[in-house]
């Protein structure tokens, strides 16, 4: 490749490595927009080889100082996180250097700034994309550095073959990644942990669909979204692959004909833990992590939660801290502060165990009907419920009717009265229609009821259960005196769980498995894992008793395996040596030893070589001057040359004869 091509390739690799480093920060979603725009524009110009700052280095350096002061001001006013500000500034410096005159020093500065950016990415982001950016950065950076080193040694304008370099650098990059993994596993996690940050934002934002209201004419696309929004560890562990369970997040009591909204009562003061009912065994303990994709502040608990506590909030900038909870009327509990992700503990009891009964003032809220309610709805409710006076019995009859006569669909159009449209026109709808119809008809019959929102299901991944955005669900709850609210779900079974497109679900599942592996193996890797790994590598010691009774006996399998490994290693080494060819053959070695012996005798006889004189020249000289050693040395020299270069081995007896002749000549 010629010099121009090499330069272009080196700069492209360098700029793309910087882009990968910047992307590791940008994928956290925390960098300011102007930073993204500036870096993107600069990268584009650099890739087009438009180094527009070549002639304005001083001016842009001043601009960098000004921007540093601006970022400092934002930091001082707490408008920007420290790591975000540092990352944004590193991005600006990288762009300034990328658009400057490319020299070896500038290349080095771009690479070092990129290293700072990737470190910023490590602090800001916790998802698997970081691994992708890191590998890209390592590969491209290695190529760029290697090409730069070659460039420094190459003569001006010389053509050089790049294939061997690419081969070596490719293998080198792969080895670097493997080495990084090995170091990662082996470096002891003796952390001081005084500035702990947790990976924050994600590239895709929040998708859970949990909000403060439910509109009936809204689309049901959430049911097709397979993103993971929560991860739950249950104790006792049911051990099943799926959980057919309701996870309550919200309840809604006010319906205006097209939209459900939550309580209008003032919230209570914040608490560190919220008790929602009586502790009746059996209790199910849940350790819940709401992932950044959740995107709401409502706590989720297995139906029915009785205690929510120990909440930790992980902010978008990665800052973690304890967070208070506020109890909202209608069994809803919210985090006081907004965060990217949360972890907390919950205890739940069986749904039909007695719970707190609402106050009479609250009961009236669960009987309110919308003013514009179609009169056919109460009539239909009375027709279905018949003579049932028990709220649970009435609810069951309504549930059977709705499931039998209505279809589940996610394809809806916007209408003025969505409930009437569902019940009398279209006779198809999604979970919110079924839940609304059930609650409104129960209220029309005089039974307090409400709509509950949250999730239905739970899929086992590893030792945990995960909830996906597609598991978002709405159902109804009827108030039964002495037992509290009981969940009654009118939605047909096929509509309760998520319905993501098969291919998308497959892709997402693979990605999430990968993410799960990444999170367990990398993000949450700890000293405990290191100890476990070390234990797994060490054979368990035999107990004292067994050692005393059995004595030492060699493990034949282990011995055989060791012997096989040793044999294989030996044969590989031997083959390699054979392929290389002997460094010094026996014949050459014999000849060299013979030469040493001759030289020793010459020294003993005080015969010196002249500057640069070879053995054969010395032999000629001595013979010419009729030196006593001349004849013997001439013969020995000829034989040495034959043995060394002529391929005629020198047997020990012949060697002895020649040396004896030299000794005799020397003595005479």
């Amino acid at each position: 490749m010629n010099a121009t091509g090499r330069r272009r390739l080196r700069l492209t690799c360098r700029d793309c490595a910087a882009a990968a480093a910047f992307a590791s920060m940008a994928s956290s979603g925390q960098l300011p927009i102007w930073s993204l725009a500036l870096f993107g524009g600069g990268l584009l110009l650099a890739l087009l080889d438009r180094r527009i700052l070549q002639a304005h280095g001083g001016l842009t350096a001043i601009l960098l100082v000004v921007s540093a002061m601006g970022l400092g001001a934002l930091l001082a006013s707490h408008a920007l996180d420290e790591v975000v500000a540092a990352g944004a500034f590193a991005g600006l410096v990288a762009v300034q250097r990328m658009l400057s005159q490319p020299t070896p020093a500038v290349d080095g500065q771009v690479h070092l700034t990129s290293l700072l950016m990737i470190a910023g990415g490590a602090a800001l982001s916790g998802d698997i994309w970081f691994a992708v950016w890191l590998v890209l950065f390592a590969g491209l950076g290695c190529f760029s550095l290697g090409l730069g080193v070659l460039e420094q040694a190459a003569p001006e304008g010389a053509d050089l073959p790049l294939r061997p370099l690419v081969r070596q650098l490719s293998a080198g990059s792969a080895l670097a990644v493997v080495g990084a993994v090995v170091f990662f596993i082996a470096i002891p996690r003796l952390s001081w942990n005084v500035a702990s940050r947790r990976g924050g934002g994600s590239l895709f934002g929040a998708v859970s669909g949990i909000s403060d209201s439910v509109r009936l004419d809204g689309p049901g696309t959430i049911k097709r979204n397979p993103r993971m929004v929560a991860r739950v560890q249950l104790e006792p562990d049911p051990g099943t692959e799926t959980l057919d369970a309701y996870w309550v997040a919200h309840t809604f009591d006010t319906f205006d004909g097209s939209e459900w909204v939550g309580a209008t009562v003032q919230p209570r003061p914040p608490l560190w833990e919220v008790h929602l009912g009586r502790y009746v065994q059996p209790l199910v303990y849940q350790q819940i992590e709401l992932l950044p994709a959740y995107g709401a502040r409502s706590l989720v608990g297995l139906d029915s939660p009785v205690l929510l506590a120990n909440a930790m909030m992980h902010g978008p900038s990665g800052r973690s801290g304890r967070v208070a909870l506020e109890e909202m009327p209608g069994q809803e509990v919210r985090f006081v502060e907004p965060g990217a992700s949360y972890t907390y503990h919950a205890y739940s009891t069986a749904p039909d165990v007695a719970r707190r009964t609402p106050e009479p003032t609250e009961r009236s809220a669960y009987l309110t009907l919308p003013e514009s309610l179609d009169p056919r709805v109460p009539a239909l409710a009375r027709q279905i419920a018949g003579d049932a006076t028990d709220p649970l019995e009435a609810a069951r009859r309504l549930q059977q009717y709705l499931r039998a006569n209505y279809q589940y669909t996610l394809e809806l159009t916007s209408v003025a009265d969505p409930l009437a449209d569902f019940l009398f026109q279209r006779r198809a709808g999604h979970c919110e229609h079924f839940a609304t119809a059930m609650v409104v008809m129960l209220r029309a019959l005089g039974h307090p009821a409400r709509v509950a929102g949250g999730f239905y299901g739970g899929e086992r991944v590893g030792t945990q259960y995960v909830l996906r955005a597609a598991d978002a669900h709405a159902w109804s709850q009827v108030l039964v005196t002495g037992r509290g609210f009981i969940s009654v779900d009118a939605t047909p079974e096929e509509g309760r769980s998520g319905q993501p497109a098969a291919f998308l679900a497959f892709l997402t599942e693979q990605l999430e498995r990968l993410e799960d592996l990444w999170r367990r193996s990398v993000v949450d890797y700890s000293m405990l894992d290191q100890v476990e790994l070390a234990r797994s590598l060490v054979r368990p010691p035999a107990s004292a008793d067994s050692a005393a009774t059995q004595g030492w006996s060699p493990d034949l399998k282990a011995l055989a395996a060791s012997a096989a490994v040793a044999l294989a290693t030996y044969s590989i080494l031997r083959r390699r040596r054979a392929a290389r060819g002997p460094r010094v053959s026996r014949e050459v070695g014999d000849a060299a030893r013979f030469l040493d012996a001759i030289e020793r005798r010459l020294r003993a006889a005080r015969v010196r070589f002249r500057d640069g004189e070879q053995l054969e020249e010395l032999a000629v000289r001595l013979s010419g001057s009729r030196h006593p050693l001349g004849a013997a040395l001439d013969q020995a020299t000829r034989r040495y040359l034959e043995a060394r270069f002529g391929g005629r081995p020198l047997p020990p007896n012949e060697r002895a004869v020649l040396l004896a002749a030299l000794d005799r000549a020397s003595a005479s």
Partner: protein
């Protein structure tokens, strides 16, 4: 195959001792490498401080790149064979071309820098890519600080491959000697008077107007000898032209070197004699050199200049020659 040299001096003993204790490879950090190491420490500090596993991962990558640098640079420095081709003519204080021949049996080597393992010889030659099986002649511009014999003990082969973070050096033990001629410069002293040839102003070598071959014609200047006018050419040109003839008087000079002077003065003397002899030989004279110990017979031509320069280079270093 060389003659076995006896250990005669403490200096030789010291050289051998140094060679014996010299590590097989030496490693130096480049400027980028120093910053990289500082950043690695910083990332490590951050990882331990925050317990962020991604920083540990980055730290692992940075450490593995350091190790990889060592492995790949070692691959580059293995299986090399180096020999000296030599220099054409080396003068002290100015760059001269020095050549090495380098080859490799297996694998391609990159970014090699060759230099002599001597503090008195600066400069280097570079090889971007050395393919296996082929011998490559590398030219380096070296500069010697002083004249005289320079004992060459080894050739340093250095590489900053693959990432430019570290410069790893391997020294090939290769005995040799480089004789550096005196510095070329201006001579303050005039040459001594000639031992043979015309004397006086007529024999001044700096003046032309001799009686040798025709050198050229030029216009007659005022007060110049009218006997030198070339009448035929003057008539043709319409103006008075005079003949210039080469000086044919080759004179013989014997320059004297006082090699008992202190080394600094001796160096200066050698430089002047080298310059004067060069100028005299260029003018076509015969020049010889007389020292306390030896005498170089007067002679002419580039061969004589080389002999004089060699003699001047050895002046003061006779014991090394012995």
């Amino acid at each position: 195959m060389t003659a076995v040299a006896a250990v005669t001096s403490p200096l030789e003993l010291w050289r051998r001792l140094r060679r014996w204790f010299r590590p097989p490879r030496t490693l130096k950090t480049t400027q980028v490498g120093r910053t990289y190491l500082a950043l690695t420490l910083g990332v490590g500090f951050g990882a331990f401080n925050t317990d962020n596993n991604l920083l540990y991962l980055l730290l692992g990558l940075m450490l593995s790149l350091i190790i990889l640098s060592g492995v790949l640079s070692e691959r580059v420095l293995r299986d090399l064979q180096v020999r000296r081709v030599g220099a054409d003519g080396a003068h002290a204080g100015e760059p001269f071309a020095f050549r090495w021949a380098i080859s490799r049996r297996r694998g391609t080597a990159f970014a090699l820098t060759l230099s002599e393992d001597s503090a008195e010889l600066s400069g280097q030659g570079m090889v971007a890519c050395l393919e296996p099986g082929a011998e490559l002649t590398v030219r380096g511009d070296l500069t010697a600080a002083r004249r005289g014999p320079h004992r060459l003990t080894g050739v340093r082969v250095t590489t900053i491959f693959p990432f430019g973070l570290f410069a790893k050096t391997r020294v090939f033990d290769l005995e040799g000697m480089l004789l550096v001629y005196p510095r070329r410069g201006y001579a303050c002293e005039d040459p001594a008077s000639a031992e043979g040839g015309p004397a006086g102003d007529a024999g001044d070598p700096r003046k032309r107007d001799g009686s040798g071959d025709l050198l050229g014609l030029r216009e007659l200047q005022p007060l110049e000898d009218a006997r030198r006018i070339h009448w035929k050419k003057s008539a043709a040109a319409g103006k008075l032209l005079r003949v210039e003839r080469e000086r044919e008087e080759r004179r013989t000079y014997l320059l004297r070197l006082d090699d008992g002077l202190p080394l600094e003065l001796l160096d200066r003397h050698c430089e002047e004699l080298a310059t004067v002899s060069g100028r005299l030989l260029l003018d076509g004279h015969e020049v010889g050199l007389q020292t306390h110990a030896s005498r170089l017979r007067p002679g002419a031509g580039p061969g004589q200049l080389r002999r004089i320069l060699r003699a001047l280079a050895w002046a003061g270093y006779q014991e090394d020659r012995a």
